[in-house]
Symmetry: C2
């Protein structure tokens, strides 16, 4: 008998960082919840399958899997396969050495948080904010500095005031195009100033741009300030354009920041699926017009859905919502005009009517927003009849409170 | 003019953990280096394309991408899609709730290190060890406790001595089947004892089993002790059987350990590619015999290559190497019999002859091994003629020192 037989089993200890990871709450992330098949779910930024090039992806897969030696089934290198990096680099206007292929946009953000935010350091974020980012920030046990977001995205002037007052974030998170949830787009001069502040005060901008290609109105704003700064991680993804299920995105990395991100990535999952990379590279390069044709169809579809849904809401609940027609993306962010309406009760009543959406109160990263008076409706994957029916039910849910 | 104009740009600070990540050295990871097309590379555990079911994967892709609504291109949930989890669970003999789909085996290890090893804590590892694990351990800035590996894998008795002497690792890493690099397999009684020690002393076993299905001789040893303990992460992957390029693996997780791993994963890349998961699930379930048929072909091929290469080495360099014929996997681990041979010079001379292999000196995690007198040859993706030519050149490289 060995002398450890007399010990009581020792409990496992948990790393402090892991112990502090919060339970999911509120925001119904698609990766955490089951779908509710009996309801009309307006929850997530889900692209419509009708505008994803499924057949072309299948055909591209057959081609890459018939190549001699089948390189698509073998290891590749951490930054991504050359053909895909080169296509992305050409679209971004940067050298391909600055492109790192990721497993989607959120993966790029998580690498950025882990690579650039010291444990317990400060991270400045949109307010209101894409709520999953706050969960991501827990990877560094980061403290949160909320920065107001207005009709034109991040309030960069306010950020400048915070910095001059002594705040020293390690990173700043914002969605510059079709802000999630509030739908504004950051103007060019604010982008230039944001980058200047980052360089001046030594923080890294995490510019999260998943909806950028889905502009269906107005003029695009250049991403050049993000792609030419030594202090910006420009985060993008094929999620909203070719399909979330690919799990394929990219970072545009300044040369100075690339080694730390690569060092982390090689220690986590090494590289993104060679197969998925090879298929997408084949898809995009074998028919150079395919990506833009796909986007044109998607933009037309989402513009129409956005307009139909906004009009139907006004018809079914006249005057109840103030809605800024979005210029792109997959969301409406209406404000309840009547302060007497209880927004939480509305969400509950809507759920009883078979409508699930994200209540605005899930989105603040700090005080001072009107998010509690708002609703986030995702319309991307619902056809027009479904959106009209959704508006009918939302109107009914509203009348449970307002009568009439 | 704002008052920050007078500041000098503030340098970006780097998280201490990231700053401490070591530069790659020695071990030539496929994800970090370019191939050398003029050489015979015996470097990595690469499966032969001829025994990967490329055509069947292409056909499965076409089928999943023609499903209505194309769920393979949409978001899925963090643990993986049900069809794939269920197939894996049936093969492992566990409930599907205990399966988490990963982006390959190393990804599972990295999740385990991040979830269970406090920063700066101790991790016990094989000695010699799969060197990339030491890089992975840097994700927790872990201190390393080497545990000897003998002809039958990890020396569990020695581990017990270390624990009784007061060592308290947070985790232990070992490759139980066809140890990498030293090729032994851990017997059942040692597995049982290892698990008992983990439960007694409160550490998590990271049982890394990528070669398990590639047994081509001898009797398999049950993985049941790993799949029935509350203290084991059983790490596996389709990398060596269906192709590294899929980036698809899995963890068998005890219920007690699952929430922490899931909490981390949702904050990193959310979930593995739905497309790859759906394709592999379709591949495996549409033809229930396919996986075993594929494995039978792979085992026959690797047994034959192993035997041919060992015999050719003996023929070209008679008596120079002591080679234990492996019972599975993709490596030979010969020992240089003559202590007068300089192993580093041999590797350099072999490189000049157009042969690249991993020198044994890359593999120790601490003192006391004979790894410096050994060589790791990967034979998986080289046909017999190439292996015979490799043996000729290795013989020539050896004679540069020994004469004759």
């Amino acid at each position: 008998m060995t002398n450890d037989q007399t010990l009581v089993d020792r409990p496992r200890t948990r790393p402090a960082l892991v112990e502090a990871l919060s339970e999911p709450k509120g925001f119904g992330d698609q990766t955490l919840r089951d779908r509710r098949p009996d309801a009309i779910e307006l929850l997530g930024g889900i692209p419509d399958p009708a505008v994803l090039p499924a057949e072309e992806i299948a055909a591209a897969t057959v081609r890459v899997l018939s190549e001699p030696g089948v390189p698509a089934l073998q290891y590749s290198r951490t930054p991504g396969i050359p053909a895909l990096r080169e296509w992305i680099a050409a679209r971004e206007g940067v050298p391909s050495s600055r492109v790192l292929v990721t497993n989607g946009g959120f993966h790029g953000l998580s690498l950025g948080i882990q690579a650039f935010v010291e444990r317990g350091a400060l991270i400045a974020v949109d307010n209101p904010v894409f709520p999953l980012l706050l969960r991501g920030a827990e990877l560094a046990d980061a403290r949160i500095l909320p920065v107001p977001v207005g009709r034109h995205g991040l309030d960069v002037e306010h950020l400048g005031d915070l910095l001059r007052a002594g705040e020293r974030p390690a990173a700043l998170y914002t969605v510059p195009d079709f802000h999630n949830p509030s739908q504004g787009t950051l103007p060019l001069d604010a982008r230039v100033e944001l980058v200047r502040l980052a360089e001046r005060y030594g923080f890294v901008v995490l510019a999260d741009n998943p909806y950028r290609e889905l502009r269906f109105r107005g003029e695009p704003v250049s991403a050049e300030p993000f792609n030419t700064s030594s202090h910006v991680l420009h985060v993008n993804t094929f999620t909203k354009t070719l399909g979330p299920g690919l799990r394929l995105g990219w970072l545009v990395l300044p040369e100075e920041l690339a080694p730390d991100v690569l060092a982390l990535r090689t220690r986590q999952d090494s590289h993104s699926s060679t197969l998925v990379q090879a298929v997408v590279a084949e898809l995009l390069t074998s028919d150079p017009g395919l990506f833009d044709t796909t986007l044109d169809r998607a933009r037309a579809l989402y513009r129409s859905r956005s307009d139909v849904f906004a009009a139907a809401l006004e018809q079914e609940a006249p005057g109840a919502f103030e809605i800024d027609a979005p210029e792109g993306g997959l969301f409406l962010w209406p404000r309840l005009r009547d302060d007497a309406v209880d927004a939480d009760r509305l969400a509950t009543d809507a759920s009883a009517e078979g409508i699930e959406y994200q209540r605005g109160s899930f989105f603040p990263s700090g005080p001072g927003t009107d998010a509690g008076r708002r609703l986030r409706f995702a319309f991307g994957d619902k056809d027009e009849d479904v959106l009209r029916e959704a508006a009918v039910r939302i109107g009914r849910a509203l009348r449970r409170q307002t009568g009439g």
